[in-house]
């Protein structure tokens, strides 16, 4: 019997293998998905009732295996709307705003449950929330205040570390401003609505969004997030001192602390503002538009004199640093090597920064210590710059002398050549 060698046989086999494989793959994919009849309808319904598959796939709850029925109840296996959305099946329908914190908290306040998903996730959000202004007002019946879903979004809720999450540090201020900058919405509350506008101009906002410094404060840093409430006039300093420790320490020991407290003035905020904190400048100690001291103090009194002294000390050191910098700059562009002095300038600038921190003690004698240290360093660097310039002039003199010598040789050669060829 002749064995027919079918050259096509391997290809035919491969086709069947491919088909089988495809079937197995499709089956396994389908197996992984439990039936979710909710999305079958709701992914095509218009906005108020609509949740697209794409949107829901971004949701962290969905990614962890929870579905619609985890919060809304009902029967996901049934295609019949009446059966799927029956009260008997536990369907809750649209969750009432007042119920939302409780609903979220039913899982998120249960440490044993949350531990299954993320052991290091906190579980005190709900209890914190009830202490907040939002929580207190909600408990009193005001449904306009923020509940969990207002800030965290819903159905496409992302982890805070996700850059597109509404509660990622970079986005927090935008999220809060959705209500707090809406003058109409906030009409019946007696708080201003310019916080976000102010904050957008602030140095903290710039640090966060422009420099990408995620440690820079946003709304929740000072107000708390779940337990959000204004710090309270007498607690402002505590909030600022978490990062600005030195300034707070100085202020603590200063005359201003008692004076502000007794007048119920909010500490740091009096001079620096709360939301629109701009980069402080020496002009704050002056008498111009940016001046803060003369808002309270009278012209000519002891405090005014101290202020003038502080301003002039800072100005003196600033000018000394700048003059040393310019001499070093000229020396450098002439080719002199002044990297050691440049490093010393960093130290002088550190002294100036320190002096500006010591301002918060409001004691010219303390500020003066830092100023003097800085002036000494600045003087040393200025000296180095001047020496570099002297050295540069020496070099030029040396060059001039050498060029003269070369010139003499050239003239001599010319004459000599002329002589031997005549």
């Amino acid at each position: 019997m002749a064995i027919s060698r079918n050259k096509l046989r391997p290809f035919v086999a491969a086709r069947y293998f491919g088909l089988a494989g495809f079937v197995v793959l499709a089956a396994s994919l389908a197996y992984g998905q439990t039936k979710n009849s909710c999305l079958d309808c709701h992914s095509v319904l218009p906005d108020a009732l609509g949740v697209s598959q794409e949107k829901f796939s971004q949701d962290i709850h969905a990614q962890k295996g929870l579905t619609c029925t985890s919060c809304h109840g009902g029967d996901p296996a049934s295609d019949d709307p009446d059966k799927a959305m029956s009260r008997k099946a536990g369907w809750k329908g649209r969750i009432d705003r007042k119920q939302i914190p409780q609903l979220c908290g039913s899982c998120h306040s249960d440490p044993a449950y949350i531990r299954q998903f993320n052991p290091s996730l906190r579980t005190d959000q709900l209890s914190q929330y009830w202490t907040s202004v939002h929580g207190k007002r909600l408990a009193a019946g005001d449904t306009k205040v923020a509940v969990c879903t207002d800030c965290h979004s819903v159905h496409d809720l992302r982890a805070p570390s996700d850059p597109s999450s509404t509660v990622n540090p970079v986005n927090v201020a935008n999220t809060c401003s959705r209500c707090h900058s809406d003058a109409d919405y906030m009409k019946r509350y007696s708080i201003p609505t310019d916080q976000f506008a102010q904050y957008s101009k602030s140095v903290h906002h710039e640090a966060l969004t422009v420099r990408g410094d995620l440690s820079a404060p946003t709304c929740t840093t000072c107000h708390g997030n779940h337990g959000a409430a204004p710090p309270g006039i007498d607690r402002v300093q505590n909030v600022c001192s978490n990062c600005h420790t030195f300034q707070a320490q100085m202020y603590d020991k200063s005359s201003h602390k008692k004076a502000f407290e007794s007048a119920s003035l909010p500490g740091c905020v009096v001079c620096h503002g709360n939301h629109g904190i701009s980069h402080p400048s020496d002009a704050m100690l002056g008498t111009g538009p940016a001046a803060v001291c003369m808002r309270c103090h009278t012209s000519g009194d002891a405090c005014d004199q101290a202020r003038a002294q502080l301003q002039s000390s800072l100005g003196q050191l600033d000018a000394a640093i700048k003059s040393a910098d310019s001499v070093l700059g000229v020396a450098e562009s002439s080719g002199m090597e002044v990297s050691e002095a440049r490093l010393g300038q960093d130290q002088a600038r550190d002294s100036l920064t320190k002096a500006r921190v010591t301002i918060h003690s409001f004691r010219p004698d303390l500020v003066d210590q830092d100023i003097q240290a800085g002036l000494k360093i600045g003087a040393k660097n200025l000296q180095a710059g001047k020496e570099a310039m002297v050295e540069r002039n020496h070099r030029r003199l040396g060059l001039a002398l050498s060029l003269i010598a070369i010139g003499i040789v050239l003239v001599g050669l010319r004459l000599y050549i002329k002589k031997i060829e005549s």
Partner: protein, 161 residues
């Protein structure tokens, strides 16, 4: 070769004495040449003399002397173009790291009360290995190798393979 130089006493006489003008040219040439030779040789000779400040290379620096630092204290030293921090821990061993805070480049310091490295600008804290513990700093401080030779404490950049 006869010269038509009118100044020569006897144009054909090669051995006639040099005249003032000829002498001037030769003097000028010789003097100028000598001056240029000096201008060349003097810097070269100066260059060959080893300078007083020894060149250890950018890698190594003497950060301090044994006995200079008390237990549980630190000191700032210069390392290349940046400041470094040398710490003597309470158990006596030396650590060295960059003193430039990774947040906004302020110079950090050693806090003996906290036994940590602290940045005064925004309250950033690092441990004795330079790891950023709390506050704004996003990255650890670069660590250096410390070697005590004799009574000098050498600090060297970490040699990576």
């Amino acid at each position: 070769m006869t010269t038509s130089d009118p100044g020569a006493l006897n144009p054909a006489d090669r051995l006639s004495p040099p005249l003032p003008r000829r002498r001037f040219v030769e003097a000028l040439l010789g003097g100028g040449f000598l001056a240029t030779v000096v201008a060349f040789v003097y810097p070269v000779v100066q260059y060959l003399i080893p300078p007083k400040a020894a060149d250890l290379g950018g890698d190594s620096v003497v950060a301090g002397r044994v006995g200079e630092l008390k237990l549980n204290s630190g000191k700032i030293f210069r390392f290349g173009n940046r400041p470094g921090l040398l710490i003597r821990s309470s158990s006596g061993d030396y650590r060295a790291m960059s003193a430039t805070c990774t947040h906004l480049s302020c110079t950090v310091q050693y806090r003996d009360d906290l036994r940590q490295v602290w940045c005064a600008c925004h309250n950033g804290k690092y441990d004795l290995n330079g790891r950023n513990l709390s506050g704004p700093p996003p990255r650890p401080l670069e660590g250096f190798e410390v070697q005590v030779r004799g009574d000098e404490i050498f600090v060297r950049r970490r040699r990576d393979a």
